[in-house]
Amino acid sequence: MQVLSTPAVVLRAVDYGESDRIVTFLTRDAGKVSGIAKGAKRSQRRFSGALGIFSLVNLHYRTRAGAELVFLERAQLLVPWKSLLDSLERYAAASHVVEVADKMTAEQEVGDDLFHVVVAALRRIDGAEPGPTTLRLYELATLAVCGYRAELSRCVRCRQPFAAGPATARLAPAAGGAACGRCADPDEAGAAISPAALACLGRMQALVARATGSARRDAGALFDAESELAGELPRAVARELGATLAALLAPRVRGRLLSAELLGPVVGRGLVGA
């Protein structure tokens, strides 16, 4: 069988038996792919340090008829992360990035947009300590490229813009956005969103649209304006944004988001989300 090659990010990896490793990648060209690396622990030549979580690699693999796992031929680090493990905050943020990407997608069926967004987010976290909007931008972008763009600039139901003044908008996660006071379903009991948080979400959505929209795909631009966003962000709003995105993600991911749950208390809920 022919060997396929693609850039890929390691989402998950577990040791298997004496010397093998089972690794799940988000690839640029073939979506999410899981494979077995035979002799991974012994073969420096084939996998030289390239099978740890977060690794950005050039992956060479063969598919096997009827087999769930592809056969991993070799992998070379494309960009070694320099500072991803310099702080617990960076580790927690990077874990959240790969976990969301993994749990929002099924095997294979995912385009290259998500790959670019994930790489851009890891590059951002490798470059500097994550700020209060870093992961929020990533989450909004991930929702958008997976087909669940959150509607936050107007009511997700009646399409009317939100009235100015005190908080009238409520979260409607199942509907994929926020609803106005008239349309909010009392059974849904979504949290109210403050005007400050709503305004910030609107600005972030504009950045996401610019970075992932079909006209100009440049996921790297996603974090360019981050300093302007975060500069004016009070702590309470940062926490509210974290809780809002966590609620919007919940219906789209498989299971719980464990990085936020387990590392949130250590690095701060405002960073990884509630």
């Binding site: 998950r12 577990v14 298997y16 038996g17 004496e18 093998d20 420096q44 030549r45 030289s48 340090g49 390239a50 740890g52 979580i53 977060f54 680090l77 070694p80 992360w81 991803l84 493990l85 702080s87 617990l88 580790y91 927690a92 874990s95 790969v98 976990e99 993994d102 464990l258 990085s259 749950e261 387990l262 590392l263 208390p265 250590v266």
Partner: protein, 200 residues
């Protein structure tokens, strides 16, 4: 495949399959080996399995594997009490002991931070480590978790917990393995080995 096995063989196959890295085929091969082997083999195997659960336990001080509590290392007055080496698993402790270099004591965390596998701070024996340091007498904590992302994150977490207590926290060096090959060594290891270079 195993639908025509006898119920007792079926049961053995199911038990073998619960071992890590053992699939249906290997489990079947092992079960047939047991079936064909001398009856004393199965008896010894069963006794060994039960024995390990009855006699082996974790040391209440360092959480290393032992049949006595505290373990021989924690009970040895010649081992330095000022140094504690933090490792992920009992097997890592045994690896250090084989090197016969280290004369301090240990603390076994019972794993490494791996949130995606459900391992957070509460799943590791960090509170016990803090309590040991608080109790006094420890001057240096050497963090010897694996040089993997999970091990590095665990080291960062341990340092964050212990530094406020005024204890010295050090991390083991990273470099090329003996028998390794510079050409095939990953760039991260290469740059870390440069960072950790020393005068000759």
């Amino acid at each position: 495949m195993s639908s025509e096995l006898t119920p007792s063989m079926q049961r053995l196959v199911e038990e073998f399959k619960r071992l890590p890295g053992i699939g249906e085929k290997t489990a079947l091969r092992l079960a047939f080996y047991v079936l064909r082997a001398d009856p004393s083999f199965a008896a010894h195997m069963a006794q060994a399995l039960l024995g390990v659960k009855e006699q082996s336990r974790l040391c209440s001080v360092c959480f290393g594997l032992t049949e006595r509590d505290p373990c021989v290392i924690c009970a040895d007055p010649r081992r330095r009490t000022e140094e504690v080496c933090v490792v992920e698993e009992p097997a890592d402790l045994m690896a250090f002991e084989r090197a016969r270099e280290y004369r301090g004591r240990y603390h076994v965390l019972g794993g490494a931070l791996a949130p995606l596998d459900g391992v957070g701070p509460d799943q590791l024996r960090c509170g016990e480590l803090v309590a040991r340091v608080r109790a006094g007498g420890i001057e240096e904590v050497i963090v010897a978790t694996n040089p993997s992302p999970e091990g590095e994150a665990t080291a960062l977490f341990v340092a964050r917990l212990l530094k406020p207590l005024g204890v010295r926290v050090t991390r083991i060096a990273r470099g090329l393995p003996m028998g390794g090959d510079v050409e095939y060594t990953d760039v991260v290891t290469l740059s870390k080995s440069l960072e950790g270079r020393r005068e000759m």
